[in-house]
């Protein structure tokens, strides 16, 4: 077969390769040879550029419908495209809530209209109607319309009996439940860790056990029901220890963490910095080390951004009034690849957490550069430098503590189904 696209001399796992693509799929990946030449519609010289499979982000908030002033599908997917993400899973906390086929289809249509070749939105349906935690949502209808998982997002179901039934009902449809683990009474949504900093600032604060208590609930339920549950945005050592205990016993539980829990500590809140207000909150240095270790060992399976855009005026207010959330689609690739450079993660840990792990948890297609894989990959200039700021971020919202930071590395081309979408 004559390839339609050949990407030449890209660096994949330390070796120079040529990638041959036809019909939106990988034909072959060959070691680069100087004397080799190809006949193809399009040949791309990728010398000096790293080759990555497109990343999967299993936890984002794209705000459409309802909060388009923060983000919409077009702008959120723009950030995804230039941030290296080929598939993102938007949460259901839109307005209206994504608890009907109509809303799911609207999300998919808007995404396709803006980015016909991808990145793909893979919606997460509401677990309960209106995320109210009272009645099961119409999960079969949502699954049919295109939802790939269910979650009550930031409003964890208090009623454990209802949660158990929701997990059972979802698994009947072959889909998993993603649980935001947070005790509903221990300073929910405080956005700051209960610790030295909150004590000094006098802010109501959430202790790490508020998360770990619900992680323990989910582990015991998953074990009892023998149905997998996925834990969203794990932030602390206590949760990691529980997950390690569970995995050792073969409990079907998976978990994700976010770049900010690998990079930042509660100290960032000092001075009432609302850009560091996030739920679960930034924890301590010890927790950061535990999260890094958990990614290396696989106790935490996946990385996700929990990209949570908010308008500038919403964050420029009293700390206690500001909404929780940090954007991540624009910066996650660079900020976590930097951890590989520092030896904190291996390149394999990085690739597993951003591609194969989330793809296998949620049964999504992913490129491993085997023949027949979707030709979803990007080229990355590891030396390019850029400063995080309003001009460089493609998300509508700029609420990241990385504002002003210099990042290393830039996506120069992003092929989805063999088509460069940048």
């Amino acid at each position: 077969m004559t390839p339609q696209l050949v990407v030449r001399r890209a660096v994949w796992k330390g070796k120079s390769v040529d990638v041959l693509v036809a019909d939106g799929r990988i034909v072959e990946v060959l070691p680069w040879r100087k004397d080799q030449s190809f006949e193809a519609a399009w040949v791309v010289d990728a010398q000096g550029l790293l080759l990555f499979p497109s990343l999967v982000d299993c936890h984002v908030h794209l705000r459409e419908p309802g909060f388009e002033y923060k983000e919409d599908l077009a702008s959120g997917l723009a950030a995804a495209a230039s941030g290296g993400f080929g598939q993102v899973m938007p949460m259901a906390n839109t307005s209206p809530v994504n608890d009907s086929a109509a809303t799911t289809r609207f999300i998919l249509d808007q995404a396709r209209a803006a980015w016909p070749h991808g990145p793909m939105a893979r919606p997460i349906g509401a677990l309960t109607k209106g995320l109210a935690g009272q009645e099961l949502s119409v999960m079969a209808e949502l699954a049919e319309a295109g939802c790939v998982a269910f979650s009550n997002d930031g409003k964890p179901v208090e009623n454990t009996e209802l949660f158990r039934r929701a997990v059972e009902y979802a698994w009947d449809l072959g889909l998993k439940v993603i649980d935001h683990c947070e005790d509903p009474y221990m300073a929910p949504g405080a956005g700051v860790n209960e610790g030295a900093v909150s004590s000094r600032l006098g802010l109501p604060a959430q202790p790490d056990v508020a998360e770990a208590l619900h992680v323990a609930r989910d582990i015991l339920l998953a074990q009892y029901l023998d149905i997998p549950i996925h834990v969203a945005h794990v932030s602390c050592r206590k949760s990691v220890e529980l997950l390690a205990w569970a995995k050792k016993r073969g409990v079907p539980i998976t978990a994700e963490t976010c770049p900010h829990y690998l990079l930042f500590t509660e100290d960032l809140v000092e001075g009432y910095n609302t850009l560091a207000k996030v739920n679960p909150p930034l924890r301590t240095r010890d927790d950061v080390l535990a999260m890094r270790q958990a990614l290396r060992t696989g106790v935490v399976d996946a990385l996700a951004t929990d990209h949570a855009p908010h308008a500038a005026h919403e964050k420029e207010t009293e700390f206690e009034d500001a909404p929780c959330g940090i954007t991540g689609l624009d910066t996650a690739l660079c900020s976590t690849w930097a951890l590989v450079g520092q030896g904190e993660l291996s390149a394999d840990d990085f690739l597993r957490a951003w591609t194969s792990a989330p793809a296998s948890i949620f049964d999504l297609p992913v490129c491993a550069f085997d023949p027949g894989d979707p030709a979803d990959f990007f080229l990355f200039d590891p030396k390019a430098r850029w400063v995080v700021g309003p001009e460089t971020l493609r998300s509508k919202s700029k609420n990241t503590p990385l504002l002003g930071a210099e990042m290393t590395g830039r996506v120069t081309a992003h092929f989805l189904g063999g088509i460069n979408v940048l």
Binding site: E194, G195, A196, S198, S199, R200, L201, G202, L203, A205, P207, G271, Y272, H313, E316, T317, E318, F319, E320, D321
Partner: protein, 311 residues
């Protein structure tokens, strides 16, 4: 002498020498407060906005009186009854105030960090009159000034001060711990565990759960106001049980050092955190605190608005 600070956000911005300057200035202004005509033209033509987004009577009155005695024009802006504040973001309120070119804004706000929020955005001086549970520097300064007068000087070293009650929710306690520690006093805290801040072990204090032990040998006791909503929040069973364990009374004073002083930032709940008779006893310096509050705030308004020290 030049005064280097634009804003007073918390006491940890100040050095010991600067605190001593404030006390010298307050002593100077105290003399004015004892004159038959309690007014000097020092800040004539200057304007001070009293922006109180949270209810307060005594702090606001104290600042108002301090400003007026220095001949500054004071303008009140309260949360209720003001369309300027209603439904408006703090940023917009701040910018609106700025546009009116005041020389200083005294801010009381329910949110921690509100004073800093204004200070970062406005050119005029910002005086923090209490932000959330975070800081209340003028209260701490008037408390320390009261002790400074009682103890006849800056020698706080070796003195023991007990702060009693709801520490967790108290900006007064937070600023007082910082200031008293900086001046060399040793601070103790006493209250039920539910009303102590998280990670209190990191604070430079000794913590007691038993009041009789806590008062032993202390030179001053600051009682804090107990908010009744702590009961609804599940932090204490009821007022009766609280007062049995933590209400300061004469019998506790017997265990304290000789001449120990009793303080309260007000408003008091007599019988809850302090016995009624003790509040009126000679050991009580509660009304001195109020009088000193005006003098300290005159000193602060002068120093922050003119960037000069008066003495």
């Amino acid at each position: 002498m030049q005064w280097p600070h634009k804003d007073l956000l918390d006491v940890d911005q100040l050095s010991t020498e600067q605190v001593a300057h404030i006390f010298d200035a307050a002593t100077h202004f105290q003399e004015i407060n004892s004159r038959p005509v309690k007014k000097v033209p020092t800040l004539k033509g200057k304007s001070v906005v009293l922006f109180f987004a949270e209810a307060s009577t005594r702090t606001k009155t104290s600042f108002d009186m301090a400003g007026k005695r220095l001949s500054a024009d004071t303008f009140s802006l309260a949360k209720s009854g003001s369309s300027l504040v209603k439904g408006e973001t703090l940023k917009d309120t701040a910018l609106t105030l700025q546009a009116m070119s005041p020389d200083a804004i005294v801010i009381r706000h329910w949110a921690g960090g509100a004073a800093q929020f204004l200070a970062e955005r406005l050119d005029c001086s910002i005086i923090n009159a209490g932000d959330g549970r975070h800081a209340h520097p003028t209260q701490a300064l008037l408390d320390a000034f009261t002790l400074y007068q009682e103890w006849a000087g800056m020698d706080f070293k070796g003195k023991r001060v007990l702060i009693l009650g709801d520490i967790a929710h108290s900006r007064v306690a937070r600023s007082n711990v910082k200031l008293l520690t900086m001046l060399g006093a040793r601070v103790r805290l006493c209250g039920p565990r539910t009303l102590l801040p998280p990670r209190v072990e990191d604070w430079p204090v000794r913590v007691f759960s038993d009041l009789s032990e806590a008062v032993r040998g202390v030179n001053a006791i600051m009682c804090l106001r107990l908010q009744l909503e702590r009961q609804q929040a599940g932090l204490l069973p009821d007022l009766r049980e609280y007062s049995r364990r933590f209400c300061l009374s004469e019998r506790h004073l017997e265990l304290a050092a000789k001449n120990a002083r009793v303080m309260h930032p007000g408003p008091m709940n007599r019988g809850a955190e302090i016995s009624s008779s003790l509040a009126d006893a000679p050991q009580s310096v509660i009304l001195d605190q109020v009088a000193n509050g005006v003098a300290v705030r005159m000193a602060l308004l002068f120093m922050y608005m003119t960037r000069q020290s008066p003495v």
